[in-house]
Protein backbone atom coordinates (compact mmCIF):
# COMPACT_ATOMS: atom_id res chain seq x y z
CA UNK A 1 0.00 0.00 0.00
CA UNK A 2 1.20 3.49 -0.76
CA UNK A 3 2.11 5.45 2.32
CA UNK A 4 -0.56 8.12 1.83
CA UNK A 5 -2.39 7.14 5.00
CA UNK A 6 0.84 7.53 6.88
CA UNK A 7 1.92 10.85 5.39
CA UNK A 8 -1.50 12.39 5.75
CA UNK A 9 -2.31 11.23 9.23
CA UNK A 10 1.00 11.54 10.91
CA UNK A 11 2.60 14.58 9.32
CA UNK A 12 1.72 16.61 12.38
CA UNK A 13 3.07 13.93 14.71
CA UNK A 14 6.30 13.66 12.78
CA UNK A 15 6.72 17.44 12.71
CA UNK A 16 6.07 17.66 16.43
CA UNK A 17 8.61 14.92 17.08
CA UNK A 18 11.23 16.58 14.87
CA UNK A 19 10.63 19.99 16.43
CA UNK A 20 10.89 18.43 19.87
CA UNK A 21 14.17 16.66 19.17
CA UNK A 22 15.71 19.60 17.30
CA UNK A 23 14.58 22.05 19.98
CA UNK A 24 16.08 19.91 22.68
CA UNK A 25 19.33 19.55 20.73
CA UNK A 26 19.52 23.33 20.28
CA UNK A 27 18.95 23.96 23.97
CA UNK A 28 21.54 21.45 25.09
CA UNK A 29 23.96 22.63 22.44
CA UNK A 30 23.49 26.27 23.40
CA UNK A 31 24.02 25.58 27.06
CA UNK A 32 27.13 23.57 26.21
CA UNK A 33 28.50 26.39 24.07
CA UNK A 34 27.57 29.23 26.37
CA UNK A 35 28.33 27.86 29.80
CA UNK A 36 31.70 28.53 31.41
CA UNK A 37 33.76 25.36 31.64
CA UNK A 38 35.70 25.28 34.86
CA UNK A 39 34.93 21.91 36.32
CA UNK A 40 36.03 20.96 39.79
CA UNK A 41 34.94 18.08 41.98
CA UNK A 42 32.90 20.43 44.15
CA UNK A 43 31.12 21.94 41.18
CA UNK A 44 30.14 18.51 39.85
CA UNK A 45 28.28 17.67 43.02
CA UNK A 46 24.48 17.66 42.70
CA UNK A 47 24.04 20.40 45.32
CA UNK A 48 26.96 22.70 45.22
CA UNK A 49 26.01 24.72 48.28
CA UNK A 50 23.96 22.24 50.36
CA UNK A 51 24.98 19.43 52.64
CA UNK A 52 27.25 16.88 50.95
CA UNK A 53 25.23 14.08 49.29
CA UNK A 54 25.04 10.60 50.84
CA UNK A 55 27.54 8.02 49.55
CA UNK A 56 25.09 6.33 47.18
CA UNK A 57 22.82 8.03 44.72
CA UNK A 58 20.13 5.52 45.38
CA UNK A 59 18.63 4.24 48.55
CA UNK A 60 16.35 1.29 49.04
CA UNK A 61 12.68 2.14 48.59
CA UNK A 62 10.01 0.77 50.84
CA UNK A 63 7.89 -2.12 49.60
CA UNK A 64 4.73 -0.05 49.66
CA UNK A 65 5.92 1.98 46.66
CA UNK A 66 5.78 -1.23 44.70
CA UNK A 67 2.15 -1.83 45.55
CA UNK A 68 1.33 1.74 44.60
CA UNK A 69 3.03 1.14 41.28
CA UNK A 70 0.94 -1.98 40.72
CA UNK A 71 -2.22 -0.06 41.56
CA UNK A 72 -1.15 2.61 39.09
CA UNK A 73 -0.56 0.00 36.40
CA UNK A 74 -3.95 -1.59 36.93
CA UNK A 75 -5.87 1.63 36.66
CA UNK A 76 -3.73 2.66 33.73
CA UNK A 77 -4.94 -0.45 31.91
CA UNK A 78 -8.50 0.40 32.85
CA UNK A 79 -8.07 3.94 31.54
CA UNK A 80 -6.81 2.64 28.21
CA UNK A 81 -9.93 0.54 27.77
CA UNK A 82 -12.10 3.52 28.62
CA UNK A 83 -11.09 5.28 25.38
CA UNK A 84 -12.70 2.89 22.89
CA UNK A 85 -15.54 2.25 25.31
CA UNK A 86 -16.44 5.93 25.54
CA UNK A 87 -16.80 6.02 21.76
CA UNK A 88 -19.16 3.09 21.41
CA UNK A 89 -21.25 2.57 24.52
CA UNK A 90 -23.99 4.99 23.44
CA UNK A 91 -24.45 3.51 20.00
CA UNK A 92 -23.86 -0.16 20.75
CA UNK A 93 -26.00 -2.68 22.60
CA UNK A 94 -26.82 -2.14 26.26
CA UNK A 95 -24.51 -4.91 27.41
CA UNK A 96 -21.47 -2.83 26.45
CA UNK A 97 -22.29 -0.25 29.11
CA UNK A 98 -22.66 -2.82 31.85
CA UNK A 99 -19.54 -4.70 30.78
CA UNK A 100 -17.41 -1.70 31.60
CA UNK A 101 -19.25 -1.27 34.90
CA UNK A 102 -18.43 -4.88 35.71
CA UNK A 103 -14.81 -4.37 34.68
CA UNK A 104 -14.47 -1.28 36.85
CA UNK A 105 -16.39 -2.96 39.65
CA UNK A 106 -13.96 -5.87 39.72
CA UNK A 107 -11.02 -3.48 39.87
CA UNK A 108 -12.78 -1.35 42.45
CA UNK A 109 -12.85 -4.38 44.67
CA UNK A 110 -9.07 -4.30 44.43
CA UNK A 111 -9.07 -0.77 45.85
CA UNK A 112 -11.40 -1.72 48.70
CA UNK A 113 -9.24 -4.74 49.38
CA UNK A 114 -6.01 -2.79 49.55
CA UNK A 115 -7.66 -0.07 51.60
CA UNK A 116 -8.98 -2.56 54.10
CA UNK A 117 -5.61 -4.30 54.25
CA UNK A 118 -3.97 -1.03 55.17
CA UNK A 119 -1.84 -0.86 52.05
CA UNK A 120 -2.88 2.72 51.40
CA UNK A 121 -1.93 3.79 54.90
CA UNK A 122 1.22 5.80 55.24
CA UNK A 123 2.77 5.63 58.64
Amino acid sequence: MAPEGLTINYTAVVIAAIVGFVGMAIMFGASYLLSPKKRTAIKDMPYECGIPPAPYSWSQLHMRYYIFAILFLIFDVEAVFLFPWALVFLTSIDAVFYEMLLFIGILFFGIIYSWKKGVLQWN
Binding site: G5, L6, L73, D76, V77, V96, I106, G110
Partner: protein, 163 residues
Protein backbone atom coordinates in the same frame (compact mmCIF):
# COMPACT_ATOMS: atom_id res chain seq x y z
CA UNK B 1 12.42 2.20 -1.26
CA UNK B 2 9.21 3.73 -0.07
CA UNK B 3 8.99 6.16 2.81
CA UNK B 4 7.29 3.70 5.12
CA UNK B 5 10.04 1.16 4.52
CA UNK B 6 12.64 3.76 5.54
CA UNK B 7 10.62 4.56 8.65
CA UNK B 8 10.30 0.85 9.35
CA UNK B 9 14.06 0.32 9.26
CA UNK B 10 14.64 3.37 11.43
CA UNK B 11 12.14 2.16 14.03
CA UNK B 12 13.51 -1.35 13.82
CA UNK B 13 16.96 0.03 14.54
CA UNK B 14 15.59 1.91 17.56
CA UNK B 15 13.93 -1.26 18.90
CA UNK B 16 16.94 -3.46 18.37
CA UNK B 17 19.41 -0.87 19.59
CA UNK B 18 17.40 -0.38 22.77
CA UNK B 19 17.08 -4.11 23.31
CA UNK B 20 20.80 -4.74 22.80
CA UNK B 21 21.49 -1.88 25.19
CA UNK B 22 19.27 -3.47 27.84
CA UNK B 23 21.33 -6.63 27.73
CA UNK B 24 24.76 -5.07 27.36
CA UNK B 25 24.53 -2.18 29.83
CA UNK B 26 26.41 -2.68 33.09
CA UNK B 27 24.02 -0.47 35.03
CA UNK B 28 20.53 -1.79 35.68
CA UNK B 29 18.98 1.66 35.73
CA UNK B 30 20.41 2.32 32.27
CA UNK B 31 19.01 -1.04 31.19
CA UNK B 32 15.56 -0.03 32.37
CA UNK B 33 15.73 3.28 30.52
CA UNK B 34 16.99 1.60 27.35
CA UNK B 35 14.06 -0.77 27.64
CA UNK B 36 11.86 2.30 27.39
CA UNK B 37 13.60 3.25 24.14
CA UNK B 38 12.94 -0.19 22.74
CA UNK B 39 9.30 -0.13 23.80
CA UNK B 40 8.79 3.27 22.21
CA UNK B 41 10.26 1.92 19.00
CA UNK B 42 7.63 -0.80 19.08
CA UNK B 43 4.96 1.86 19.57
CA UNK B 44 6.28 3.52 16.42
CA UNK B 45 6.03 0.21 14.57
CA UNK B 46 2.40 -0.08 15.66
CA UNK B 47 1.73 3.38 14.28
CA UNK B 48 3.41 2.39 11.05
CA UNK B 49 1.06 -0.58 10.83
CA UNK B 50 -1.84 1.85 11.42
CA UNK B 51 -2.68 0.14 14.73
CA UNK B 52 -3.29 3.35 16.61
CA UNK B 53 -4.93 1.86 19.65
CA UNK B 54 -2.05 -0.53 20.16
CA UNK B 55 0.39 2.36 19.85
CA UNK B 56 -1.56 4.25 22.50
CA UNK B 57 -1.55 1.21 24.77
CA UNK B 58 2.14 0.73 24.18
CA UNK B 59 2.98 4.31 25.15
CA UNK B 60 0.59 4.53 28.11
CA UNK B 61 1.06 1.10 29.64
CA UNK B 62 4.54 0.03 28.64
CA UNK B 63 6.13 3.44 28.34
CA UNK B 64 4.34 4.75 31.40
CA UNK B 65 3.42 2.10 33.89
CA UNK B 66 5.67 -0.86 33.16
CA UNK B 67 8.87 1.17 32.97
CA UNK B 68 7.93 2.88 36.23
CA UNK B 69 7.38 -0.49 37.88
CA UNK B 70 10.66 -1.82 36.57
CA UNK B 71 12.45 1.22 38.00
CA UNK B 72 10.64 0.86 41.32
CA UNK B 73 11.58 -2.79 41.50
CA UNK B 74 15.20 -1.90 40.86
CA UNK B 75 15.03 0.68 43.64
CA UNK B 76 13.50 -1.91 45.98
CA UNK B 77 16.69 -3.93 45.85
CA UNK B 78 19.75 -3.04 47.81
CA UNK B 79 22.52 -1.23 46.03
CA UNK B 80 25.16 -3.61 47.38
CA UNK B 81 23.72 -6.46 45.37
CA UNK B 82 24.46 -4.71 42.10
CA UNK B 83 28.05 -3.92 42.81
CA UNK B 84 28.80 -7.61 42.54
CA UNK B 85 26.75 -8.13 39.40
CA UNK B 86 28.59 -10.48 37.08
CA UNK B 87 27.98 -11.95 33.69
CA UNK B 88 26.14 -15.23 33.69
CA UNK B 89 28.85 -17.71 32.64
CA UNK B 90 26.33 -19.39 30.36
CA UNK B 91 25.96 -16.39 28.11
CA UNK B 92 27.70 -17.90 25.03
CA UNK B 93 25.19 -20.74 25.17
CA UNK B 94 22.35 -18.23 25.38
CA UNK B 95 23.71 -16.41 22.33
CA UNK B 96 23.79 -19.64 20.35
CA UNK B 97 20.24 -20.54 21.43
CA UNK B 98 18.92 -17.09 20.60
CA UNK B 99 20.62 -17.12 17.19
CA UNK B 100 19.23 -20.57 16.42
CA UNK B 101 15.75 -19.39 17.37
CA UNK B 102 16.18 -16.33 15.19
CA UNK B 103 17.32 -18.35 12.19
CA UNK B 104 14.44 -20.78 12.63
CA UNK B 105 11.80 -18.07 12.89
CA UNK B 106 13.27 -16.01 10.09
CA UNK B 107 13.57 -18.99 7.76
CA UNK B 108 9.99 -20.01 8.46
CA UNK B 109 8.76 -16.50 7.80
CA UNK B 110 10.77 -16.12 4.59
CA UNK B 111 9.50 -19.42 3.26
CA UNK B 112 5.97 -19.23 4.54
CA UNK B 113 4.81 -15.65 4.77
CA UNK B 114 2.80 -14.16 1.96
CA UNK B 115 4.96 -11.77 -0.04
CA UNK B 116 2.57 -8.86 -0.06
CA UNK B 117 -0.06 -7.69 2.37
CA UNK B 118 -1.86 -4.41 2.79
CA UNK B 119 -2.04 -2.45 5.98
CA UNK B 120 -5.50 -1.66 7.18
CA UNK B 121 -6.42 0.89 9.73
CA UNK B 122 -8.98 -0.04 12.38
CA UNK B 123 -10.79 2.90 13.87
CA UNK B 124 -11.35 3.23 17.60
CA UNK B 125 -15.09 2.78 17.06
CA UNK B 126 -14.69 -0.47 15.17
CA UNK B 127 -12.20 -1.70 17.71
CA UNK B 128 -14.46 -0.73 20.59
CA UNK B 129 -17.57 -2.35 19.24
CA UNK B 130 -15.71 -5.54 18.45
CA UNK B 131 -13.89 -5.59 21.79
CA UNK B 132 -17.01 -5.04 23.86
CA UNK B 133 -19.36 -7.30 21.93
CA UNK B 134 -17.57 -10.29 20.47
CA UNK B 135 -14.57 -10.22 22.77
CA UNK B 136 -16.41 -9.50 26.01
CA UNK B 137 -15.30 -12.68 27.78
CA UNK B 138 -11.54 -12.17 27.42
CA UNK B 139 -12.07 -8.52 28.31
CA UNK B 140 -13.76 -9.34 31.60
CA UNK B 141 -11.29 -12.11 32.36
CA UNK B 142 -8.54 -9.53 31.92
CA UNK B 143 -9.96 -7.55 34.84
CA UNK B 144 -9.87 -10.68 36.97
CA UNK B 145 -6.24 -11.22 35.96
CA UNK B 146 -5.44 -7.69 37.08
CA UNK B 147 -7.27 -8.20 40.37
CA UNK B 148 -5.43 -11.45 41.08
CA UNK B 149 -2.16 -9.69 40.25
CA UNK B 150 -2.97 -6.93 42.73
CA UNK B 151 -4.05 -9.27 45.52
CA UNK B 152 -1.08 -11.51 44.83
CA UNK B 153 1.33 -8.58 44.97
CA UNK B 154 -0.09 -7.51 48.30
CA UNK B 155 -0.06 -11.02 49.73
CA UNK B 156 3.49 -11.79 48.64
CA UNK B 157 4.98 -8.37 49.31
CA UNK B 158 3.58 -8.13 52.82
CA UNK B 159 4.09 -11.75 53.80
CA UNK B 160 6.44 -11.78 56.74
CA UNK B 161 6.97 -8.02 56.60
CA UNK B 162 4.32 -6.14 58.50
CA UNK B 163 1.55 -7.64 60.64
Amino acid sequence: MSLSLVVFYLLGAVCLGGAVGVVVSRNVVHSALLLLVSLMGVAGLYLLLLAEFLALVQVLIYGGAITIIVLFVIMLTRVQEFRAMKDNPQWPLAVVAALAMFVLLAAAMIKGAPSETTRQSVSFEELGSSLFTQWAVPFEVASLVLLVALIGAIVIAREGGEE
